[in-house]
Every structure is written in C-alpha cells, then in structure tokens.
C-alpha cells in the first residue's frame, strides 16, 4: 500500500498545460520534496494533492483510496503555507483548534490534543496571543501546530521557510527535520531551495515544465542526475557540462572536444546502452567539487588548463578554467594560490563523471 499515489495526472489553466501526466508514489513515513524553478507546477501539484485545485485528468490516491473528488477536509491531510495563513482575528489557541472544532471533535479530545501539541512545539506560553503579536518563527510554529493537532496521514508544506530570514530558516529547517524523525508522518514538501530539498528529503522529485525530471534519493540526484536539467539545477556552482564527442580507440573510450587535443578517458562508466558510442555527441559532466588541485585518488586524471578567473568567497574560491573555449569551474580551498593566465595542472575525479546525450540531453 502506498500512502500517496498519483496516476497520469494532468492539469491545465486554460490553454497552459501546468502538469503533464505526472506519476508519483510515496511510501509510508517518507519525506518527499518537490523541487523546481518557479512556474514548474510544483505548487499546483501540492494544491491538487490537498484538493484545493481540480484535476483535468488522472487520479490521486491516499492509502489506495481514490480521493480525486473528495473535499480537502476529508482527505486526512494538513497543510502549512508560505504566508502561514494564520487566521488574524483568532488567537493561537483558536487558530490551532479551528479544524478540530469544525470536525465536531469532543471538548476533552480537543483540549488533550492542544496541550500535547503546544507543549511539543513550545507554543504553550503563546496560546492567548494574536498572530500579529508573534515573531516569524513563532508564527511558523503555530502554523505547524495547527497542522499537527489534526493528526493527519500526510503533511503538505508549501515553501514554509521562504518568508523567514536566512538564520531562522536554517533553524526551522532543522526543526522540521527533527519533527519528521520523531513523528514519522509522510510529508510532501514544496520548495525551490536545493539546500532545503537535499537536507530534508528522503526523496526528491525535480520538476520542470510540468514534468517530473527525476524522482530519487538526494544522493542519486546529486551523483547520477538523469538529464542535463537536473545536473544543472542541483549544486552550486552547478555541474560543468563540456560539449564534445566520444571516440572509440582500440577498445578504450575517450572524450574529446573537436579542434582540441585534450582527451579524457572514460573508464568503468555505467552506460545504459553500450552500443553506438563512437562519434556520439555528448556533454561531459563533472562537478566543480570533483576537480582537484592535486592528486587525491590513484585514478584521478591529470589535465592542463588555463586559469582565467578567481572568485574568492571566504572558505573557498571558485576558479574558472578554459577547456577548448568552454568554461570549466572548480572549487578549491581559498588557501591555494593559482596564477591567472597560466596553464595549471588539474585532476578530474573520473568516477564522478556523468555523460549526457547532446541531442536528447538525457543521461547515457
């Protein structure tokens, strides 16, 4: 049984297709993050799961029960919004028990839930306050509390941290992580912040143009991106994508850029399809943090590139190198001195490389 299952879901606003045949599954207790640039349909998908948006095609199942036409309140879900959406005219207590009151829960049960949750989230001192008298972090806690008292099957979070300042955001992120570890409730979480996605999710679904580009664990997303969009979207600075071709040379496979004598051997690469690799146009993907200034592993491949630019950002520096007129970025500790305009010895960690078809932009 899947806690949440989405089948062939399509949604359009007028002639704009927002979601195109989405399929998604979440197991009990997992933390799924929907990640993508703005306008990719992630919030619409969340609203559809909540029942706040109608569906054009496809179905949503919660615990194998088709809830496509079920009212939001009967879906056994709770949602936390970006603007917190606390009812301004009610105090914290009334805010938290509003849903239970609507569901005609007994007074004793409401009191019990309220005490339990407000203690747990440390808002029990704030119960008589109005939302306007709370700080950003407190409002966030109350909003989570309002979701918690209902003991839902699934928590839905819609960019809950993006209204907070940077420091508080990191704190609240840890709290949400702790919360999930303690409660083990299934979570669907929408964000455009990759750090949030990586640190919180047990699964990340990366979306773009109404399609799920990759749905995997954070490690897989980072190490084995399934297409150039994911490769480019995750990581800061993002993965270097060097355009070139593959050459087969007496059984060995090499990556070269036309008009350049630079060659990178492809070894132990886990190809999906080993045929027709010779002369194939590809992107060679390598992350800036997998290019070293000295040899760390035996298999690291030495290459000489010209240093063009250095960006100092405190604990590290981002260096730009020239690879046959294409830019290659590398991340080094800021203590390393590299002369600009000179050929520099670099070491590529070949085990971390990714190859993408230049036409389809899919991983090969």
């Amino acid at each position: 049984m899947k806690t949440l299952k989405i089948e062939e879901l399509s949604k359009n606003f007028g002639s704009t297709e927002v979601l195109k045949k989405i399929n998604l599954e979440i197991d009990e207790g997992n933390f799924l993050v929907l990640l993508g640039p703005s306008g990719c349909g992630k919030s619409t998908l969340l609203n559809i799961i909540a029942g706040l948006e109608t569906i054009n095609e496809g179905d949503v199942f919660i615990d194998d029960y088709n809830v496509s036409k079920v009212e939001p309140k009967d879906r056994n879900i709770a949602m936390v919004f970006q603007s917190y959406a606390l009812y301004p005219s009610m105090n914290v207590r009334e805010n938290m028990i509003f849903g239970l009151k609507q569901a005609k829960t007994s007074k004793e049960k409401i009191q019990e839930q309220l005490e339990k949750v407000s203690k747990f989230l440390q808002v029990d001192q704030l119960l008589e306050r109005k939302p306007s008298q709370l700080s950003g972090g407190q409002r966030q806690r109350v909003a989570i509390g309002r979701a918690l008292v209902r003991e839902p099957r699934i928590f839905l979070f819609d960019e809950p941290l993006s209204n907070l300042d940077a420091k508080l955001r990191v704190e609240m992120r840890r709290e949400i992580k702790k919360l999930h570890q303690q409660l083990k409730t299934t979570v669907v979480y929408v964000t455009h912040d990759q750090t949030e996605a990586m640190s919180l999710g047990t699964n990340i679904a990366i979306m773009n143009h109404g399609l799920i580009q990759q749905n995997d664990t954070p490690e897989k997303i980072y190490n084995k991106p399934s297409n150039t969009f994911v490769a480019d979207f995750i990581g800061s600075p993002s993965m270097n994508l060097i355009k070139g071709i593959l050459k087969e040379n007496s059984g060995d496979l090499l990556f070269t850029v036309s008009g350049s004598n630079l060659e990178i051997p492809i070894k132990d690469y886990d190809f999906k399809d080993k045929s027709n690799l010779n002369n194939k146009e590809v992107y060679y993907g390598i992350r800036p943090e997998h290019i070293f200034f000295k040899k760390f592993n035996e298999s690291d491949f030495e290459i000489n590139l010209r240093a063009d630019l250095s960006e100092y950002i405190g604990h590290e520096q981002i260096m730009t190198f020239d690879y046959a007129n294409q830019e290659v970025l590398a991340k080094f500790p800021s203590t390393i001195k590299i002369d600009l305009g000179k050929q520099t010895k670099l070491y590529f960690d070949l085990t971390q490389a990714s190859l993408f078809d230049a036409q389809t932009e899919e991983r090969i």
Binding site: N47, K73, A103
Partner: protein, 301 residues
C-alpha cells in the same frame, strides 16, 4: 582675524534665516485661518440665524449675535406649530429617513461584502466581466435609472413607500460597496481561505469567521460612504415617494420652498441643520473606529 569675520557673517545668516522662518510661519497661519473661516462662516450664519427670532433677523445683520438661546425655531422645525393642515415639520420624515437609511446601508454593505468575497476568493470563469459590469454601475447617472426603476417599483407594488426606497438605494449602492470590498479582500492572502477549507470550513463559515472579523476598516468606510449618499439623496426620494413616505431631504425642500406666508429664516436654518446632523454624527463616531481599524494592524496575517 579671518575667523572672527567668518563667525560674524554666520551669525548674520542665522539671524536672517530666523526672520524668514518666522515670517513664513505667520504667513502660513494667516492663510490657514483665512481658509478655515471661509468654511466655518456659513455654519456660523446658520447656527446664529436659527437661534434668532424673526424680529431680530429683520433688524440685525447676518453676523450679529442672537439676544439669547432662543430654541423656538428648532422646536417648530422638529415638531411643528401644532395647528392642523399645511403645517410641515421634520419629525415624521426624519424617522422615514432613518427607516430607509439603516436597512439600505446594512443590505448594500452586506451584499457588497459577499460579492467582493466571491469575486476575490471563489474565482470563477468570467468573474472579471461580472466585476467590470458592476463597476459600470458606478458610472450610471441617477437620472438614467429613474424611469426603469419607477416601473420596477410599480410592478413590485412598493412605489411610494420606504421599502421601495430601501430597494432603490440598496441596488444603486451595490457597485460601490462591491468595489470597496473587492479591493480590500484582494489584499487578504488567499492562503487563508485554503487553510480554512482544509480545516473544514465552508463558504459561509469562511466569510463570517475568517474574513468578516478582519473587515472592520472597510466596513466603516463603506458605511460612511453609503450613509452619506443615502441620507443626502434628494432625487430618488423626490421621484419615488411623496407625502407621508418622503425622506427628510424632500420634506426639507417642501418646508423651505413651499411656504406660502413670510419666509421664516430661523426655522429654515434649524431644519437644514437637523437634516445634516446624522451624517455628522456618523463621521465623528465611525471616523474614530476607522482610524483605530487602520492602526491596529490586525489585518496582516
């Protein structure tokens, strides 16, 4: 040597700017007092005249003080002289106006709030057209709807009645009240409505429990606007009602313009003030709440 020269010239400059500032300040007060008196003058004349006897009016000037607190003309304006036919006085018409204005303000405000709520929080296909046509209603001149409205009232059997006037003012007020509430609710985050829906609240519950409690400032604005419009209306009142059912502005007109004998300026002035007092009261009372509503910051989510 040079230093002392410099400091003396600075002193001169300081002295000069002091005089300039003083002059400008006095000039400012002069202008303000001038304009204030310009506006207060008519009110002064009205109040003073209403307190005079006819004898005093004939002999004194417009600005002269009354000999004492002579409230007789007020009593006449409000309650009449006590003889039968031809004696027009404001009391019954004042209550007519109250009976008209209270329900009309209530219904138009309530319907406007509802419509604004639907147009912003329960969007439907073509809602911007509905809003556009409603806006159009704000620009239709009173005169244009007189005939169709008269026919409608006739068909409904409520012409020449307070109920009919309530209907006219409610209908004519809806475009304005809707505009006010729509513009207010559009700044209220729609996430509030979504949260309430997940919490299990329905259409009316969300309106009454979530949105209406934070609408105080705009309700006050709407009530002030509607009350002033409806209370001061003369055209609808004089067209759709006559005799016993007329509102106060029509009665005031009848009193002042159709007296057959000598013009009683003191009674006329007292009547005009009486007819204007309710709007003043609404401004003073509601204005206070209006500012309170604005400064409480209760709307921010």
């Amino acid at each position: 040597m040079q230093d002392s020269l410099k400091s003396s010239s600075y002193q001169q400059l300081e002295q000069k700017s002091k005089y300039t500032n003083m002059f400008l300040r006095w000039f400012l007060y002069f202008i303000l007092i001038l304009f204030a008196s310009y506006f207060i003058f008519p009110l002064y004349v009205m109040v003073v005249t209403s307190l005079k006897t006819m004898e005093e009016i004939r002999q004194g000037t417009l600005l002269s003080w009354p000999s004492g607190l002579n409230l007789e003309s007020w009593a006449v304006a409000w309650g009449g002289r006590g003889y039968g036919a031809g004696d027009t006085f404001l009391r019954p018409y004042f209550w007519n106006s109250i009976k008209m204005v209270v329900p009309a303000v209530f219904f138009s405000t309530f319907i406007g709030a509802m419509t604004g709520y639907v147009l912003t929080k329960w969007r439907f296909k073509g809602d911007q057209w509905v809003f556009l046509f409603l806006l159009f209603g704000c620009f239709i001149p009173f005169q244009a709807i007189l005939l169709p409205m008269a026919r409608t009232l006739g068909v409904l059997g409520i012409s020449n009645s307070v109920v009919g006037l309530v209907l006219v003012h409610t209908v004519y007020g809806i475009p304005f009240t809707t505009l006010f509430f729509r513009n207010y609710y559009i700044s209220v985050p729609t996430e509030l409505v979504k949260a309430a829906r997940i919490d299990g609240a329905g259409f009316f519950k969300i309106f009454f429990k979530i949105l209406l409690p934070i609408s105080a400032p705009i309700i006050v604005v709407t009530v002030i606007w509607q009350f002033t419009q409806i209370w001061n209306d003369f055209l609808f009142g004089s067209t759709f009602s006559f005799g016993e059912a007329a509102p106060i502005q029509v009665a005031l007109n009848n009193m002042v313009l159709s007296s057959t004998s000598v013009k009683e300026y003191n009674v006329d002035m007292a009547s005009a003030i009486i007819a204007g007092i309710p709007t003043l009261i609404v401004y003073v009372l509601a204005g206070k709440y209006f500012i309170r509503g604005l400064t409480s910051g209760a709307v921010k989510g």
